[in-house]
């Protein structure tokens, strides 16, 4: 659902709140008003009732008085019966409210008048007729109005009745009569004076006064019969209980009984389907009861109209309030909406979008100011960020170049020796950052594979600088130094000097003698390589020594082993065992070793395959995690297989230069046997002579006799000349190269011999084996 706007919500809240207050206030007001109205109505109605009762009483009293006034006249003039007509008539004349009057006497009271004598006057709309009403058809002395006072012996009121005299006159209306017994001085009854009131007239007269427009008065007799009711059809014929005959109504029944019992009070009930208040009061000693029926609607009509008007005003007012507040708030929030659009525009990247200035110093004004300040800050910071990014980009670019340079320093052509059948090498370096501190290198000099793997402490640019230095030193030093511990010692001495940053390098240097498979190695704090060969897989035993760069003049130990054919030397940096997955678990050495065993069992010895399998195992382990450290692997497989020797000769000479011609003869014979031409023969002779003379001159101390043995072996494609002596260790291959481009003055006399050997022979290889210098010179037989 779409959220309503703030202005609408605020307005709704305000109006709801105001509405609640109104409801509470009006509720109290209405309640109190209703009470007051009701009270006022009761008072008003009660007063009306009293008035009505008073008026009825007045009428009744007037009737009594008129009767009493006539009473004594009658008694006084009993001697003149005709005067009775006068008195009867005079009552009506004096009291226009009266309908009729009878002055009736006991039968034969006036002897001369016979059985009937009753002077009766009837007022018909002001016209008064007077007759003697008694006859055979109207035997008045047997009628209620005559008999009641006689029997009761006191004046009384009749129930309503319809008077009818077939041979005389009578009132067409229903009437009630006040009847008073006439008695002589001896208290003997002799007649009745009866004064009639028209029930209709009484009813109209009483009903004429009403406290409320729709209210009306009722009067009931002792039997509950209506004496007064606005509906004249109900007079006499219906009683207050009539409706309850059709449908039981305890309220009306109760009211009727209360009125009959002469009680005074007020009741709320339903009359003719309308909610009404009925006020009632007994009428003196008549046994009648007067009531006023007031519809609730009449009493509370004004009150309800007031309520409706007020509620209407309140609702309209609240609606207007809603609209007005909504409009006002919306109007005041307009700058916020505008600010919001502008902020969105800014957020979409158009930072120069102008924010309209808001001139009031209210909350919105402060927000506006904050936004503008924020915008300025953003623009400024973006500018700074741009500069930083440019700088970063430049640094990135430079790092990229540095990476390229660093990578270019590493051997990158694989397989590196496609022409050789004795060695296969594969290496791979993956820096964790653009540049790294890992290094590996290898090269073949004089039939020896020099190789190293190292890891500079730390990562990134500082490590990479040390890596470059280390690798350069390795190359430089091993160019004319074949012993790994000496190579490492010299690198260590160079690196320890002025090592203010306390960087160090773990380094493993190995020198594999390719003709023999003998490997010399020196370890400077690096992880032990793994050997994977035909007979199994396992760690190469290494002395840990110290890493390079920690302490100058440290005596690094030299170690030696024989590498069997097909064996692969697997070297790695700690990036392999310490490769971390996303939970910071490490790959660890046991996984590495297990994998090596697995490879061995599957007879996977190829350097490329081993490194690929190691790499994929690590990648699988690391998963999504970032590479935590540089990862470098180098695998070297020694694949030398000793071929069948087709030709073999040996010559042993003493260290006497005079034996050289014998050597020459021997070499000539060898060369001839192996099919070398004249020119090659002479050159081979020269090379071997140089090597042998070198031994004769320097291997043994002056004056001592020692032997030099020349073994010649040929496999049909190349001839190996192995010159062996047991003199002082001397590695001619470690001699610096002579510079043949120098002028005569600058040329040194020495060094030509080894230079010539290198020039003439295809391979040169020196090994110190079992206390003997073994120099192998190989010449390929050109076909």
């Amino acid at each position: 659902m779409k959220q309503k706007s703030l202005s609408t919500r605020l307005s709704i809240w305000i109006v709801l709140f105001a509405g609640l207050i109104f409801i509470a206030a009006l509720g109290v007001f209405f309640n109190e008003s209703r009470k007051a109205v009701r009270l006022e109505a009761i008072q008003h109605a009660t007063q009306s009732l009293d008035n009505t009762v008073q008026r009825v009483t007045n009428i009744l009293t007037q009737v009594k008085v008129a009767t009493d006034n006539t009473d004594w006249l009658i008694k006084r003039h009993l001697d003149a019966p005709d005067s009775m007509f006068v008195y009867s008539r005079r009552i009506l004349e004096n009291n226009p409210i009266l309908n009729g009057c009878s002055v009736a006497f006991e039968p034969f009271f006036f002897k001369d008048r016979g059985l009937y004598f009753s002077a009766y006057s009837l007022n018909t709309n002001g016209l008064i007729q007077t007759i003697q009403e008694g006859n055979d058809y109207y035997q008045y002395f047997s009628m209620d109005w005559y008999q009641l006072p006689k029997l009761l012996d006191h004046p009384c009121w009749t129930e309503p009745f319809s008077d009818f005299n077939p041979q005389g006159i009578s009132s067409p209306d229903m009437i009630i009569s006040y009847c008073k017994p006439l008695k002589d001085e001896n208290d003997v009854f002799f007649g009745t004076i009866s004064v009639d009131l028209s029930l209709e007239w009484l009813s109209k007269t009483i009903s004429a006064v009403k406290p409320y427009p729709n209210s009306y008065s009722i009067m009931i007799g002792q039997g509950g019969t209506f004496f007064v009711h606005p509906d004249t059809t109900k007079l006499f014929y219906q009683s207050i209980f009539t409706p309850t005959l059709i449908k039981a109504d305890t309220a009306i029944t109760g009211l009727g009984h209360a009125m009959q019992a002469g009680q005074e009070g007020m009741r709320q009930l339903t009359v003719d389907g309308e909610d009404c208040y009925v006020f009632y009061k007994p009428l003196d000693d008549t046994g009648w009861s007067v009531g006023i029926v007031c519809p609730a609607m009449d009493i509370f009509g004004g009150y309800y109209r007031l309520i409706n008007a007020i509620i209407g005003i309140v609702i309209i007012g609240l609606l207007l309030m809603l609209m007005i507040f909504s409009g006002i708030i919306s109007n005041h929030l307009e700058p916020l909406v505008e600010l919001s659009y502008q902020a969105e525009t800014i957020a979409s990247g158009r930072f120069d979008e102008e924010i309209t200035e808001y001139r009031h110093n209210d909350e919105i004004g402060k927000l506006n100011e904050s936004f503008r300040y924020m915008q300025q800050s953003i623009v400024r910071q973006i500018e700074e960020l741009k500069q930083v990014n440019e700088q970063k980009g430049r640094i990135q670019g430079e790092l990229k170049i540095a990476r390229d340079i660093q990578m270019a320093m590493l051997p990158k052509i694989f397989p590196p020796y496609p022409d050789r059948d004795d060695i296969d090498v594969f290496g791979q370096l993956t820096p964790a950052k653009e540049v790294g501190g890992d290094l590996f290198d290898f090269f073949i000099r004089d039939e020896k594979l020099f190789f190293c793997i190292g890891d500079v402490s730390g990562k990134g640019v500082p490590a990479s600088l040390y890596m470059v230095v280390t690798k350069a030193l390795f190359r430089t030093i091993s160019a004319h130094e074949s012993s790994p511990e000496k190579i490492i010692s010299r690198i260590n001495d160079a690196m320890s000097e002025d090592n203010d940053s306390n960087m160090f390098v773990t380094l493993f240097v190995g020198v594999l003698d390719l003709p023999t498979g003998r490997m010399h190695y020196c370890n400077a704090g690096h992880d032990a390589p793994i050997l994977i060969g035909n007979t199994g897989a396992g760690l190469l035993p290494v002395d840990s020594n110290l890493p390079v760069g920690v302490m100058a003049n440290w005596k690094f130990t030299l170690q030696e082993t024989l590498i069997d054919p097909d064996t692969t030397i697997f070297l790695y940096t700690d990036g392999l065992p310490e490769a971390e997955n996303i939970n910071h678990d490490q790959f660890e050495m046991n996984r590495t070793i297990d994998l090596a065993h697995n490879l061995q069992q599957n007879r996977v010895f190829s350097p490329t395959a081993i490194i690929e399998r190691m790499t994929s195992a690590v990648h699988e382990f690391v998963g999504e995690a970032d590479q935590s450290d540089d990862l470098t692997m180098l695998a070297i497989q020694y694949t030398k297989h000793h071929e069948e020797i087709k030709y073999q000769r040996t010559l042993t000479l003493t260290n006497d230069l005079k034996r050289v011609p014998r050597l020459n003869t021997f070499i000539d014979e060898v060369c001839e046997a192996n099919g070398f031409d004249m020119s090659s023969t002479m050159q081979i002779n020269l090379a071997i002579e140089e090597a042998v003379v070198n031994v004769m001159n320097y291997a043994y101390p002056a004056g001592t006799v020692g032997n030099v043995t020349i073994e010649v072996k040929s496999n049909g494609s190349e001839v190996s000349f192995i010159i062996i002596d047991s003199g002082t260790p001397f590695d001619p291959t470690a001699k610096p190269e002579v510079d043949i481009t120098l002028s005569a003055e600058d040329r040194s006399i020495g060094g030509l011999g080894i230079h010539l050997i290198r020039q003439i022979m295809d391979h040169i290889n020196y090994e110190r084996v079992n206390g003997r210098n073994v120099l192998t010179l190989i010449k390929k037989i050109s076909k």
Binding site: K658, V660, N685, L686, E689, V693, R747, I749, L752, L756
Partner: protein, 101 residues
């Protein structure tokens, strides 16, 4: 190994005959010492009958050449065979000496 030295005016010719291997070099080192006496002039090393030369022989040549350089003379190497020429090439001696056929 035999060395025949013949001096005419300022030109001294030394004819080298045989194999100039290591023992031979020791053998004729005296002859080369003699030749340095003529190093101020022109010394011609006639190699037409020289079959072989080792590095010790080359050292003799180089010593003579250095002496000549210091004395202002010159050394001409004459008629070297192909094998020796290739040795000269390997050692850069072709650039140090004036070579004549």
């Amino acid at each position: 190994m035999e060395v025949k030295i013949n001096t005419q005016d300022s030109v001294t010719t030394a004819q080298l005959i045989g194999r100039l291997d290591t023992p031979a070099s020791q053998e004729i080192s005296g002859d080369f010492d003699n030749l340095t006496q003529f190093a101020a002039g022109t010394v011609i090393l006639d190699c037409s009958q020289l079959q072989y030369i080792s590095s010790s022989g080359l050292r003799l040549f180089l010593s003579l050449r250095k002496a000549a350089a210091s004395k202002g003379g010159k050394v001409i190497v004459k008629a070297i065979n192909n094998e020796i020429r290739s040795v000269f090439m390997m050692t850069g001696f072709l650039n140090l000496f004036e070579i004549q056929d």
